[in-house]
Symmetry: C2
Subunit: 212 residues, 2 copies
């Protein structure tokens, strides 16, 4: 069975849980809480020396890191990864945008303002940069969605799943979505699609990381 | 004919030129110099509202942004994009790493220290962060290359091309490669592969951006 090392409150991990739920693929969830240092145990560092989640483990033991690479791997051959060569490249275009220009700002703001206890009081100077870069990324999305229902092919693809994960909780990082009506409409459309699950969803078989 | 909007000194643009040279694909190069604001002209913003290069234009006029998405699009069906599903996902894993954890630090350091006139004197506080993040990214590469000749499948793929572009000029951004012998060995192997071209290479048909 597939095994997913995942942090429940992590947007990058949620992407993969959401896709697995949509595909109806059974998987074992292994909780790794970065805030409790569970990504720095010897058990986990053997799996991923970078100490990052999500991490996908295939039945034979092969391991795959990077949330968006995992999405593409799992979605191959399904309607969530376009079959057309150019549309598939466009989906990748938005997934690279997400990891380069969107997640580093929007997820960082939420991580420090919402998830880290006392993080709001730190008020590091980076918060201004995250706000600026986060708003710039949302402006790019807003313009693109002005004439489209979804990011590629006017239907839900892995590009939407990648961008939805951090965007739908952006306000937890004090990034106001009010100026972005197209983005808000798209968030509602994504959440209304078949087999959608929220960030809190988890399969019944979740376990802790087994000891060495 | 394919048209590539490219900045000659940009690592992200170089990735695509290197791949096109390897594939022997004819293309027209259109120079866009960000340092002269040529990415902010009405002519270019119609093509890419984000004002970024590289940008690939297909013969029918369709446009594709994001260097790594362009690499995957162009390499499909060639030996530079693995055919095996898992190996292809691993190539993406390294390309997402590059855009998330490598390029933002290593390319930014080179941009401000080498390319921008007077940028070295600015000494913004971000330089310390770029050094720290750049060294962390190189350490990840160094460990991975300890047992491998190339990033995926022990042969050259688009993952190597993506990572090579900024790494081989990292020292122009004051990031010392001496502590990373595996990375230096890999750089030499990439440069020794068939049909390699350096960053200075350009096709003979380069043009300036046509006016509206």
């Amino acid at each position: 069975m597939l095994r997913l090392y995942s942090m429940q409150s992590s947007g990058n991990s949620y992407k993969v849980r959401l896709l697995l739920a949509k595909l109806g693929l059974p998987f074992r969830l292994v909780d790794i809480d970065l805030l409790r240092g569970e990504n720095r145990t010897p058990e986990f560092l053997i799996k991923n020396p970078e100490g990052r989640v999500p991490l996908l483990e295939l039945p034979g033991g092969r391991l795959l890191a990077e949330s968006n690479a995992i999405l593409v791997y799992l979605a191959e051959g399904t309607s969530l990864l376009p079959e057309d060569r150019f549309a598939r490249a466009e989906a990748l275009r938005w997934m690279f945008f997400e990891q380069h220009s969107h997640e580093p700002a929007i997820a960082a703001a939420r991580f420090w303002l919402k998830l880290v206890r006392g993080g709001r009081d730190l008020r590091t100077h980076d918060i201004d940069r995250w706000m600026e870069e986060g708003h710039a990324a949302l402006a790019v999305m807003e313009r693109h969605l002005g004439r489209r229902s979804f990011f590629v092919d006017n239907r839900l693809t892995v590009a939407d799943i990648a961008l939805y994960a951090h965007t739908h909780v952006a306000e937890e990082g004090d990034i106001d979505l009010a100026p972005f009506p197209n983005v808000r409409g798209w968030l509602a459309r994504v959440a209304a699609e078949a087999d959608h699950v929220g960030m809190e969803w988890r399969p019944e078989n979740a376990t802790a990381m087994p000891a060495l």
